[in-house]
Subunit: 142 residues, 4 copies
């Protein structure tokens, strides 16, 4: 496997306003893999004090997209075709970590898995797991 | 079907910090149904100028939870067990509307469908469709 | 929408050994739509006397593929990229009917919904609902 | 973790007519884990000569149910609430092996992952991956 397309991954993290707004940060990347981190704040919670499923889903989806992007040839981008996420435990803590790995790279579709962990008082627990199908497309005018 | 549990739905929308932060608003509700609206801003976009999948997923999930909550007996809450979302078209426009309907109410699980529409220049198009499984639980100490 | 590609749909139903083995039959088709029927036998059940989830999943997947195939240009085929199915009620009865509709046609991917109904003593009930992503491909050597 | 509930797993495999009809066999089990095997025959294929997605889905679902059943207290059964499967590669070969592992055990729901491998000319490849949500219920009259 060649070295990851770091330029595209950096763009995916730095040029996405919703990701900046959420506070999601790129932690590390490798060929077909990406890890991101989110420092939890009050504004990330739902009505019962747990991390909102939408926060976990955004993290799982975006990090999956970045993992797929590491394998992209120049000039192509990834768009989420679909994803499914299981929320395994109510998440409460200081930090979320998401580790995404490409399960099946492809030229039209890539299938990626994301695991979201919550760190609370130094203990890391798996709180969500997602599988995403990413469409690899050539942007119009791109 | 009895009249919807409006108190719980209002709590689900008003007491969820992530929902307030996102700008998602309750539009209307009925027994087993809920509609929400989001005025799109720059901060809701991803790196290519489209609405981030995480925004659509949050909307689909939260509105599905509210639709399930309309049917809850007092003292119970809903937590997302899992959901799956298909992003059907790149979304770009002024506003998102999400319409969620309970497909199968239950005492332990409710299955809910959410359709997300994007309004651009007065035209409404379906941009995402999700199916969510909601767990109905009695909160500890609740 | 043009008239459906009936040749490909007929091939999808007639040339699939697992479908013949299961007893699944094509009922009707239209542009972007397909309906199939299965007469339930003892051999379709799981260990508690209900229709096996795998039977419902096969029906939902295959009928979805046929619905997508109605819109195919000649020389292309559909392969299932992924599907998700919610089993809504334990199914018991004489017959299953599956109605599949293309939610989003595409040139590389089609998204299709399938509803599986069980007929018991003349009453039809929705027992499962699935969403499938179909890849549209040109067969090698085809 | 206690020793697995082998009685229930054996019942799940031996008393399910559709599983006998398909030819799916229990290979091994452990606490929260189950492996099954299917010798591929012509009747398991779809219209293009690949293993039908429904065969892989049935295997992924049933083996996931058995993995969840290993952790059941006596008197309870599992029913599939939902599952999602990604078909990663067209499957062609002599044998399928499915390995299922409980990702999150619970008292009302268990989340299980299944990996389906195809063996062709001695080479094993991952062809499908599924995530299933199993409902744990007390049978009526049971």
């Amino acid at each position: 496997m060649t070295s990851p397309n770091a330029d595209e991954v950096n763009r995916v993290f730095r040029s996405a306003p919703f990701i900046a707004d959420l506070g999601l940060q790129l932690d590390s990347l490798g060929p077909g893999a990406c890890t991101s981190v989110l420092l939890l704040e009050q504004r990330h919670l739902q009505q019962d004090g747990f991390v909102h499923a939408g926060v976990q889903a955004t993290m799982a989806d975006h990090t999956a997209g970045a993992a797929a992007a590491t394998l992209l040839p120049p000039g192509q981008i990834v768009l989420t075709a679909e994803f499914k996420i299981n929320l395994l435990r109510a998440a409460k803590g200081e930090r979320l970590i998401c580790r995404s790995t490409v399960l099946r790279p492809g030229t039209q579709l890539s299938v990626v898995e994301s695991e979201v962990f919550c760190i609370a008082s130094g203990t890391e627990r798996l709180v969500a797991k997602a599988t995403a199908t990413m469409a690899i497309v050539t942007p119009r005018g791109g």
